[in-house]
C-alpha cells in the first residue's frame, strides 16, 4: 500500500503549544473584553464623571493618582488568569487516560512542560498588553495627564510577577495528583502560610521580649512569593520613599524565585511518575507541608478559643488537640477517608510541637534577639518614642543607656510603651518594650531634657504657618474650646514651654500633667497638622504665659459671638 506522508512541518512541542493556545482562545477573548471594560472603559468614564462633577477650574485629570491601583488590579487579574490557564493546561496530569495520552506523545518531559507552561502565559499577554496600551492611549487625550514611565514600569513588573506566580504555581501543579488536591494544596499553602506568619507574629508579641509593634513584620511579607510580590509591588507603586535599589532588589528576587521555581518544577516533573495521576499527591512532601500548616493553624485556633492566653498550660493542651484534629481532618479530606489516620495524628502532634518549640525559642530570647543592643559606633541615628515624646538622636548614648537598663531588668511589667528604632550603618534595629515608666524615670528624664528633644519641640512648633492657628486645652478637668491664636502667641508659647523643659519631672514621664494643649493649624504644604503640649505643675513659665493670654475669656467670646468668629 503506497501512502502519501503528511507534509506538515514537524515541531511537536510547538504544535502542542499552538493547540493549547487555541483551546483557551475563547477564555482569552472574554478576558480581553473584561480588561478593556476596566481600562480604558471604566477609567475613561470615571475621569469624565469626575471632571463633570469637579470644580469648574478642574480642567485636567491627573491619572497618576489612579495608576498604581489600576496597574495592581490588572496585575492581579492577569496573574490569576494565567494560573487558571496553567491549571487547565496541566489538568491532563490528573486523569489516568489523559496522562497516558499526553505522555505517549512524541515529546520529552521538558518540551511537554514548556509547551503547556507557555501556552498558559502567552494568551494572557495579549489582553494585558492591550490594557497597558490603552492606559498609554488615555494619556494622549489632552485633558488627561500622567506619567507614561509609571505605566511602562507597571507593564514590566506585571510580566515579572505573572511569570514568578506561574512558575511557583507549577510546583503545586506538578506535585499534586488530582485537580481537587491541587486546589486544596495551592490555597492551603498560600493562604495558610500567611496565617501561620500572623500566628508567628502573635507568638513573638507574647513571648519575644522587645519584639517591635505597629508594622507588618518582614517574615509576613516574605512568607509566600505571592504575598511578597503583591505587597512589595503595591508599596513600590504607591510609596514615595522608593529608591532605585528597592526596584533592583525586587526585580532580582522576582527573577530568582521564577528561576528557582521553574527548575524545581522541571526536576519534579521529570521525576514525576505518570502512574500518580488520580492519586492525591504525586509527591508526598506537599501533603506533609500542607498538613503541618493546617495543624499549626488548628493548634493555635483551638488553644486561643479555649484558653485565650497563650502562656497558660490549658492553651497548650488544646493546642495539641487542635493540631491533631486539624491534621486528621486535612488527611481525611485528602485521602477521602482515614487511611492515614495515624500519620495525620503524628503530623498534628508535630504542628503543636512546632509552635511549642517556637514559643520556647522566643521565650529564651531567640539567640540573643531580646538582649541585642547595637554598638554606639554602628549607629547612624536612633529615635525613641514614649508617652507624648518622640525624639531622634544622632548620638545614641542616652538611648543605649535606657535600652541597656531595660534589657538588664528584662523590662518588668508595665503598660508604658517605649519604641526604640536604630538606623545602623548596615540595616536597622527596632524594639518595643512595655515597662513601668517609674523604673526608668532617670533615663527617660534625660531624654526629655536633652537638647535633641528641645530642638524637636521647637521644630514641631515651627512646622505651623501663621494661618488658621487655634489652641484648645484641658485644664483641671475643664475643657477649653478651640481659640484662634496668632503666630506671635504661638511663638511665645513655644519659648515658655521650651524654657520649662529642663525642669521636667517624673510627671512628664508618666504623663501626669496638669494642662494639655492641642495646637491645630496648617503646615507649609497646606496640610492640616496638630501638636500636643503637656504641661506639668512646675512649668511655671508656660502656665503664666497661658494665663496671660486669657484664653478662657477668649474661648467664651469666640464661641458665643459670631462676629468675633467672622
Amino acid at each position: 500500500m503506497m501512502s502519501k506522508i503528511s507534509s506538515v512541518r514537524f515541531h511537536p512541542a510547538f504544535r502542542l503549544y499552538r493547540y493549547s493556545v487555541k483551546r483557551t482562545m475563547g477564555l482569552t477573548v472574554l478576558m480581553t473584553v473584561f480588561l478593556m471594560l476596566i481600562c480604558p472603559g471604566y477609567v475613561f468614564m470615571h475621569i469624565n464623571h469626575v471632571l463633570k462633577l469637579g470644580s469648574t477650574d478642574m480642567k485636567v485629570y491627573d491619572l497618576n493618582r489612579d495608576l498604581p491601583t489600576l496597574i495592581l488590579i490588572v496585575t492581579v487579574i492577569t496573574t490569576a488568569a494565567a494560573i487558571l490557564y496553567l491549571f487547565i493546561n496541566f489538568a491532563f496530569l490528573y486523569g489516568r487516560s489523559s496522562s497516558d495520552f499526553f505522555h505517549s506523545l512524541p515529546l520529552n518531559r521538558r518540551s511537554l512542560l514548556a509547551s503547556r507552561f507557555f501556552a498558559g502565559i502567552v494568551p494572557v499577554l495579549m489582553p494585558m498588553t492591550l490594557t497597558y496600551a490603552a492606559m498609554c492611549g488615555l494619556l494622549a487625550i489632552d485633558y488627561i495627564s500622567g506619567n507614561i514611565r509609571l505605566i511602562l514600569w507597571g507593564f514590566v513588573y506585571n510580566i515579572l510577577i505573572l511569570l514568578m506566580s506561574c512558575a511557583f504555581s507549577m510546583i503545586f501543579i506538578v506535585a499534586s495528583g488530582s485537580v481537587f488536591d491541587l486546589i486544596i494544596s495551592f490555597f492551603t499553602f498560600n493562604i495558610g502560610i500567611a496565617v501561620v506568619q500572623l500566628i508567628n507574629q502573635s507568638f513573638c508579641e507574647v513571648y519575644l521580649f522587645g519584639f517591635p509593634r505597629g508594622e507588618i513584620p518582614a517574615f509576613f511579607t516574605n512568607s509566600s512569593p505571592f504575598i511578597y510580590a503583591f505587597v512589595t509591588f503595591s508599596e513600590l507603586m504607591n510609596g514615595s520613599e522608593r529608591t532605585p535599589a528597592d526596584f533592583v532588589i525586587f526585580t532580582a528576587r522576582l527573577l530568582f524565585v521564577t528561576a528557582a521555581s521553574l527548575v524545581a518544577a522541571f526536576l519534579l516533573y521529570s521525576r514525576r511518575k505518570s502512574e500518580k495521576s488520580g492519586v492525591s499527591y504525586a509527591y508526598r512532601f506537599l501533603y506533609v507541608v500542607c498538613a503541618l500548616i493546617v495543624g499549626v493553624i488548628g493548634a493555635y485556633a483551638l488553644g486561643t478559643i479555649f484558653a485565650g492566653d497563650q502562656v497558660t498550660p490549658v492553651f497548650w493542651v488544646f493546642a495539641v488537640i487542635g493540631g491533631m484534629l486539624a491534621a486528621v481532618t486535612f488527611g481525611a479530606v485528602n485521602d477521602r477517608g482515614f487511611k492515614s489516620f495515624k500519620k495525620s495524628l503524628v503530623i498534628g502532634g508535630c504542628s503543636a510541637a512546632l509552635i511549642g518549640t517556637l514559643a520556647l525559642f522566643l521565650w529564651s530570647g531567640a539567640f540573643g534577639y531580646s538582649s541585642r543592643i547595637p554598638e554606639k559606633e554602628s549607629v547612624k541615628s536612633v529615635s525613641v518614642a514614649f508617652g507624648q515624646f518622640s525624639v531622634e538622636f544622632d548620638d545614641p548614648s542616652l538611648v543605649i543607656d535606657l535600652h541597656k537598663k531595660i534589657t538588664e531588668q528584662s523590662g518588668g511589667d508595665g503598660y508604658g510603651e517605649i519604641n526604640i528604632s536604630y538606623k545602623l550603618k548596615f540595616g536597622e534595629l527596632k524594639r518595643t518594650y512595655f515597662v513601668d515608666y517609674n523604673d526608668f524615670s532617670d533615663e527617660l528624664l534625660k531624654i526629655i531634657k536633652s537638647e535633641e528633644n528641645i530642638e524637636n519641640i521647637r521644630e514641631s512648633f515651627d512646622a505651623f504657618t501663621g494661618n488658621n492657628l487655634s489652641l484648645s486645652f484641658y485644664y483641671e478637668d475643664d475643657w477649653i474650646d478651640p481659640v484662634p491664636i496668632t503666630a506671635s502667641e504661638l511663638k511665645g508659647l513655644k519659648e515658655a514651654y521650651v524654657s520649662d523643659i529642663p525642669s521636667a519631672t517624673e510627671d512628664s514621664v508618666e504623663g501626669a500633667t496638669r494642662i494639655s494643649c492641642d495646637i491645630t493649624g496648617f503646615d507649609r504644604n497646606y496640610d492640616y497638622c496638630y501638636y500636643s503640649v503637656y504641661i506639668e505643675e512646675g512649668f511655671t513659665n508656660t502656665i503664666e504665659y497661658l494665663e496671660s493670654l486669657d484664653l478662657k475669656q477668649r474661648a467664651v467670646a469666640y464661641n458665643t459671638d459670631t462676629t468675633v468668629r467672622e
Binding site: 500500500m1 502519501k4 506522508i5 496522562s99 505517549s104 512524541p106 520529552n108 502512574e275
Partner: protein, 299 residues
C-alpha cells in the same frame, strides 16, 4: 525490535512487573496475554514511554524509550480506555495526530475512515465504547508508527470489526513492517493473529515464543482401542494430560507430531488422529504442567 531486560515496575511497594525479559522482533504481531492485573497494561505503558522503569530497561531499536522524543514519534499507543481531546471529533483528533506525528499518513487515514463506519463529524465522547475504540485505532494506525501498542484492542469491538482490525494489522505488518504489541486477556482474539505470544502472570513472564513453535510442541491426540491399554504403554511419550471417555482416549502430548503418531500406531488403535489444540488449550496445559493455578490466569 522491542526488548526488555529485567524490566521492573513497582506501584506502592508492589511489583507490577518483576524482571520481565522480552524480545519482540521487528514486523511481528506480538500477543501479550494474562489475567487482569497481571502486568500487561503496565508493560505496554512502559513500551510507550509513559511510565519510567523502576528497574531494568526497555528499548526499541536499541534506544531507550522513556523521554525519547524521536523514538516516541514512531510509537503509537492506544490505551485500555482511549483518551480524546475535549469535545473532539474524529477529524479533529486526526488533525491533532497529524501535527504531532511526522509520518501521519493521510491516504491511510482516508482508507481507514472508509473501512470503519463512523460519523466523523460527531463528538467522540458521545459515541459507544466500541466506536470510541475504532476512532482511537484509526488515528493511531494512520500515524504510521513503527511500533503500535494496543491495550485490550478488541474490547468492545463486534465480530466484524475484530476481523477488520486483524486484517489491517496483518497487512500493515507485511507491507510496512509494523511491529504490533497487542494485549488481551482473551486468547481467542489472538489465536490466528499473532506471530508470537507471551504470557505474563503476577508481573512475571511465564513464557514467550512463536505461536507456531508453541503449537507444534504440544498436540491433542484422540484414539480408540478394542481393548483399553494400561497407561504405562504411553510411557514412551511426554504426556501432559490423559482423559478417557468409554473406549476413546484423549491425550495431550508434547513432542513431534509424526513421532507421536508413529508411537501410537505401534499400539494398534482402531483409529487415532492428531487435532491441533487451540491456543487457549495449549496455555492451559502448559501452565498446569508448570504448576500454575490456571483458572486464575486465563479467563
Amino acid at each position: 525490535m522491542i526488548k526488555s531486560v529485567g524490566l521492573t515496575k513497582i506501584f506502592d511497594g508492589k511489583k507490577a512487573l518483576d524482571g520481565v525479559e522480552f524480545e519482540i522482533p521487528e514486523g511481528s504481531i506480538f500477543g501479550l496475554v494474562g489475567s487482569n492485573g497481571s502486568g500487561k497494561s503496565t508493560f505496554l505503558r512502559l513500551a510507550a514511554g509513559i511510565y519510567m522503569p523502576d528497574g531494568g530497561d526497555i528499548t526499541a531499536g536499541g534506544e531507550r524509550i522513556f523521554n525519547n522524543f524521536a523514538l516516541k514519534s514512531e510509537i503509537a499507543y492506544v490505551g485500555d480506555t482511549p483518551y480524546f481531546l475535549p469535545n473532539a471529533t474524529i477529524r479533529e483528533m486526526a488533525r491533532f495526530y497529524r501535527r504531532m506525528y511526522p509520518k501521519f499518513d493521510n491516504n491511510l487515514y482516508n482508507r481507514l475512515i472508509e473501512i470503519f463506519p463512523l460519523d466523523y463529524k460527531a463528538r467522540i465522547a458521545t459515541m459507544s465504547k466500541g466506536m470510541q475504540r475504532q476512532a482511537a485505532l484509526i488515528t493511531a494506525i494512520a500515524s504510521s508508527p513503527k511500533y503500535l501498542l494496543l491495550d485490550e484492542a478488541f474490547d468492545g469491538l463486534d465480530a466484524v470489526m475484530r476481523k477488520v482490525l486483524k486484517s489491517i494489522l496483518i497487512e500493515a505488518s507485511e507491507e510496512r513492517s509494523l511491529t504490533t504489541v497487542i494485549s488481551s486477556h482473551n486468547l481467542k482474539d489472538l489465536e490466528f493473529l499473532c506471530d508470537r505470544v507471551g504470557l505474563i502472570h503476577l508481573g512475571k513472564l511465564v513464557f514467550s515464543d512463536e505461536t507456531e513453535n508453541i503449537k507444534s510442541r504440544i498436540h491433542k491426540v484422540q484414539m480408540a482401542f478394542r481393548q483399553i491399554p494400561e497407561t504405562s504403554v504411553f510411557s514412551g511419550l511426554d504426556v501432559v494430560k490423559v482423559e478417557r471417555s468409554g473406549s476413546i482416549i484423549y491425550m495431550i502430548v508434547r513432542g513431534d507430531e509424526e513421532e507421536i503418531m508413529r508411537y501410537i500406531g505401534r499400539l494398534s488403535p482402531i483409529f487415532s488422529e492428531c487435532v491441533e489444540p487451540t491456543l487457549e488449550e495449549i496455555f492451559v496445559y502448559e501452565l498446569e504442567a508448570k504448576g500454575y493455578d490456571v483458572k486464575n490466569i486465563i479467563s
